[in-house]
Each structure stands twice: as C-alpha cells, then as structure tokens.
Symmetry: C2
Subunit: 406 residues, 2 copies
Amino acid sequence: MSTLTGNAVIGQSGGPTNVINQSLVGVIESFKTNPNITKLLGSKHGVRGIVSSDYIDLSAVPTDLLERVAATPSSALGSTRDKPDAEYCQKILRGFTQNNVRYFFYIGGNDSADTARIVQEMAASSGYELTVIHIPKTIDNDLRVHDHTPGFGSAAKFVAQATMGDDYDNKSLPGIKVNIIMGRNAGFLTAASALARKYENDGPHLIYMPEAPVSQDQFLANVDAVYSKLGRCVIAVSEGITSPGGTTYAELMSQGLEKDAHGNIQLSGSGALGDYLAGQITTKLGKERGKKLRVRADTFGYLQRSFAGIVSDVDAKEAREVGKKAVEYTLDPANHEGSVVMTRVPGSAYQIKIHLEPLVNVARHTKHLPAEFIKNGNDITQAFLDYARPLVGPLPAVGSFVELKK
Amino acid sequence: MSTLTGNAVIGQSGGPTNVINQSLVGVIESFKTNPNITKLLGSKHGVRGIVSSDYIDLSAVPTDLLERVAATPSSALGSTRDKPDAEYCQKILRGFTQNNVRYFFYIGGNDSADTARIVQEMAASSGYELTVIHIPKTIDNDLRVHDHTPGFGSAAKFVAQATMGDDYDNKSLPGIKVNIIMGRNAGFLTAASALARKYENDGPHLIYMPEAPVSQDQFLANVDAVYSKLGRCVIAVSEGITSPGGTTYAELMSQGLEKDAHGNIQLSGSGALGDYLAGQITTKLGKERGKKLRVRADTFGYLQRSFAGIVSDVDAKEAREVGKKAVEYTLDPANHEGSVVMTRVPGSAYQIKIHLEPLVNVARHTKHLPAEFIKNGNDITQAFLDYARPLVGPLPAVGSFVELKK
C-alpha cells in the first residue's frame, strides 16, 4: 500500500451491471479500515471525472441510502466508454497528484484493468506512490483468470428467465423465434439462455455463440430441422454470431453500422441483427418454398444488464465482497496493483476463494467460452450448466400439463 | 345455467399474459362446485381445439402441478390468433354438441368475448342449452366496462421496472434512448413506464401513447428540448404511435409489414419501429446539425407479456379470482352468458367488486386511455399513477447520490 496518508478515488467504467453498485458500496463501507485513506472520492463517469476533478465525496453516506444504492441497477457514479491513451493516462495521473490521491479503485472490465495498469506503471516510473486495484464487473463474463465476474450471474438470470417465459409464449403461439443476446466476443450470456430448460423439447432449441462459428446456410438448415420436428423453434443468438471465415453476421449484414470509441460496431440498442435473421428465415425457409411462417425476433438489449429487480443473490453478495476485498488488499504494503479475482474451490459444493492477481494477466484480452461448454456448435453441455447454475441461483418453479401424461 | 348435466370446456385465446394460467387454475379448482359439470376439458389452442376435439381432461390435476401451472407465464393450454367467422362458430357449436358441452369458459380479450357472444347466440337460436362465460385477460388493459384486466398489472410492472433500470443505465452513459412498448390501440402499458419515477429528471422524459397523436416534427422537437436541457432523453413509445392524421408511424414507415389474421400490422417481434425512430433522431437532430448523438432503441417485445418471475401479486390474485367467479356465475340459472368484470369501489383504499356483464357491452371494441390520464400529449398525469399503482404493487427501492446534496 501507499505508506502516505492521502485520498482514495473510486470509479465505474464500461457497460453497467445490476450489481456494480454492490462493489461500490463494498468499498464505501470498508475504506475506513485503511487508516491511510483520508477521504473517498467518487469520480463521476469513470476516468472523465478524474481528469476534470469531478468528484462526489463518499466519506459519509448514510447507511440507508448506501443499501438502496447497492440495490440500484447501473453505475451510480456514472460510467464512460473512454479508453484512455498514454496522454489521457498522464492527465489521470496529474489529476491524482493534484488531489493527493494514493489509492485508485477502478470497477470495470478488461479495458478498465488495462487503463488501471497503465496509470499505475506511469505513477511508479515517475516515483509517485499509488496503489491501483481493479474490481471486476462485466455481464460478458470474459475476464481471464477470473472464474466468473460480478454482473454475469444477474444478467444470466435475466436471460434465463426471459428465455423461459418466451419459450412458453412460443409453445402457446408456435412459430420461429430469434432472441438476440449480448456478448460480442464471449458466449457465456447466450449460453445462459438454456439454464431454465426443464421438459423435453423446451427451448432454446438452438444456441449460437461467437466461439462456434456457423455459416448462414447451416444456421437455416438447423432451424429448418427443428421446425420440421417440433413445429416451432426458439433460437438464442449472440450479437457476436460469426461465420466460419471469422466475419461477424453484423459485418456481413451491414458495413454502415455505428462504431464506438473502441472501434466496435454498435450491436446493442438496435434490432437490426434480429430483424435480419428473421428476414432470412422468412424468405429462405418460407417464401422461397411457398410457406407462410410466423417468424419473430426480440433483441433483449439493455434490459439484460440493468433490469431493476432481477438480481442473483450470489452475484450481489460476491460483488459486495470483491469491493471489500479491494480495500483489504491495500493494507498490505506489498500490493501496488492487481485485480480482485474469484476462483472456484474444487469440490461438489459451490465455494469461491479470492486473491489479488497482477493486472497484466487480466487486462485487455478476452476470455472465451471453453470448448467443453459447447455442444455440436449450437447447444451447451451439462458442464456449462454445472458451472453457471450456482452463479444464477434458483429460477421460477414452473409447470406444464405434459406432466399429466406421466 | 344449463339445467342439464354435461361437460365444460375452457380455452385460452390471443396474446398470452403472465397470469392467464391463474384464471385457468381458478376454474379448474372450483368447477366441481357446479354439480352439473361432469368433466372439465381444456381445449388446446383455443377454438382450434374445439373444432378438432383436441382436449386435455383437467378434471383431476394434482394440486402441486396446478400451483406451478398457475405461476407459469403464457397460456398453458396453448393459444390461437384465429378470429372465427360465422361458419367457424358453427363448427365450434357442432363440437360442443358432439361432446355434450354445456359450459364454455373462454379466457381472452375483446375478440374472444365476441366469439363467445356469437357462439352463445347460435346455441340459443338452435335451442341448444349452453352457458358461455368470458374471463378477461389482456396486457393492453383495453376492455370496455372493465376497470382493468388481469395481465395488465404484471406487464405494467415489467415495463415500469425495465424503464426504471434503463433510465439508470442512461444516466450512467447518457444519450437518447427510445423504448418501444406494446399496445397497438391503447396506451395503458406505455403509460406504465412512468410508474417508477422517483427523483427530479428521472425518465421516461417523453411518453407517446396512441391516444395522443404527434407529428414526427413535434416528436423530434420534444426530444431536442429534453436533450438540450438534460443531456439525455429516455422516450417511451407505444408501438401504436400515431400521427395527427390518424396514420400510425408503422404505416408511415412501411407498407410492406406482415399482417396477422385480424388484418393488423405486425408490430411486435421486430425492432423496426424503434430503429426507425432512432434513425430519425440520429439524422435530423444529429447529422443534419453536425452533431454526433448516442441514440439507442430497445423494443421490449414479448418479454413484456411472458417474462418468468415478474408478476404483480394483486394481478395474480385477481386473475385467480375471476376464474373462480366464472364458475360461480354458472350456478345461477339466469346466467347464460357474460364477461366477468372487475370494477373499482370508490374510496381511498384500493378495492374491487366483480359482476357479470352482458358480452355485447365488452366485445369487439377497444377501451382507450382516458383524456384525464394524458398530460401535454407526451406525459401522464397523477390520476394515471393513482389508477395504476395498486394494480402493479411495490417497485424496487432504489437510491441515488443526488440525495447526498439534500
């Protein structure tokens, strides 16, 4: 830790989650255990608030408000999509120097871990004592070393319950249904659509993840086969669905889509991919064969990450815990930087342990859905269910008259 | 009631809801109180099951299964979009005659009430004793005479919580957000987007309901005004948003959209309207003025009516109750037909009473959002909040650091 008395800054970055404020509150309620921290400053909109000294003093938040903030979706301090370059990082460091900031807690994904790493290196090389702790969050669940990340369990619960209800809707009014699920590069969230399957022939019947490329012809052939057998088909499609050549469907579909500051194509906040796939099915499996199909598409969109009221209890608890641990790690003078990582203790009962991992091992690169979680390129395995169920917790108990025949 | 011993048929029709099975279970658990009913037959996919004698015997469903079915989204018996003409209604009556059906419980909206009415009139004129009870359901809340309909409270809860979370998301990463909400002709569900507003400047900042037509120029001017003031704007738009001439935006946007069996344009199951409005905003408020705006659209889609786990307790309880009442009304020989109607008892505490209303007063036509619920053509009034809150029940308790400044 920094041996100097000074202030701490906490910021939130990237796409919000339903439990990102739990981690924030974990830090707020425990920062006083570090006697070297004078004030805890919340930077508004992540690194933007640091370069403009736009802070909220979080040193004395009433407990009642704190608990309500913890239970509120999305980033209470505001977020940012800025990905700082070297010059921007210098400004961050200058901001820290001006405000005598000696501790930086940054809640975010792999880009945020990388920003944290760069700022810490700059501080170290200029002789400025600064301890930087990355607190993980991402609904995509794509951080290396981490067994899973806070935010995933709650988003997965939303996707599982949405798909469960939608599958019952589709049983009621049969047809072909395409559901577009977040996760540009990693298929964990799309895979979670299968968590609520209970009866034979429950949907989703097909699951397409970025890690299992599929040609459009194969995609249509799969849909045709399920529809021919069941008279209906519910399809979970990652927004990052990719053809075998490595080109995403979004790229195939359009060259003109908006790109964000990271050079990524805008996939969320638009129904384009879902409508495109529904159109392909309507035309190629329907009109060209003289059949009228009922084809619908929903894009789950921002509801996946910020729906008020759908939270995994385990996820909320763990998100709080990693925030507390982040403060705890600053008490050891040996720790100058790191990411708070949860790993799973081997054994039948779900249990995690937490450690501090060097940022370089977490930053920048993406973790993908491992091959043993993917089945036939369009489904998930029991191993994925075993992995994800403890993170999501219990799902609604449903019933169907198919049980009467038993 | 029919004075003859015979069977009863129950069916579910139209778009499913999250509590439509509560009404089904209300009938199943109470039909034996009518000694004239021999068996209760569930017709699969509404009137389709009747004309093809495709029934499930519901006379002996285990209680445990019954309770799970009640808590399961969407129509457990399957639904249909068929709108029977006279010939189809004759087939229904023939089906009833063949199976000695003397009671028909039909769960649905105004189209289903009309089908029920026609079949009962045909039976009466041919001297076949048949009692027909319409059990209301529709998330659109658009049945005449009814104060509100089962299904609305739960869908409204979903829309309120989705909008609440989305508004926090938009505070975190500011921009312009368009949310498309179900309700082709009635704005009740879109209005419900406002139920979770708590702090000053909470969204939705603009609410467009079919009952308050708006020109595209006015729509854009409204968005511009909010965005100029707050730097962000969350907009709730009914899928039935209409221009002052009476043409829907969907019609303006495209003449080629799919139509259903009722001649309605397909609005749900596509992101087209949201993407169109986002495109208009991006172009006319952004590009044409040389500004880059962050504009996103989500179409809440089928999740609104079938999301597993978001149910209003009051809605679930009332849906069960109208099912039970439907059976109770068959005990009075004077009742040959009717719709089970909830009205509100005047007074400060929320209380309903239930009566049987002649089908002709409920069938076919749509109830609209009354003028006293609409404010300035793009918002809702306190009167709407007072009307809707008891139907939805408590919403998540959230907190924001803006309270620190108080």
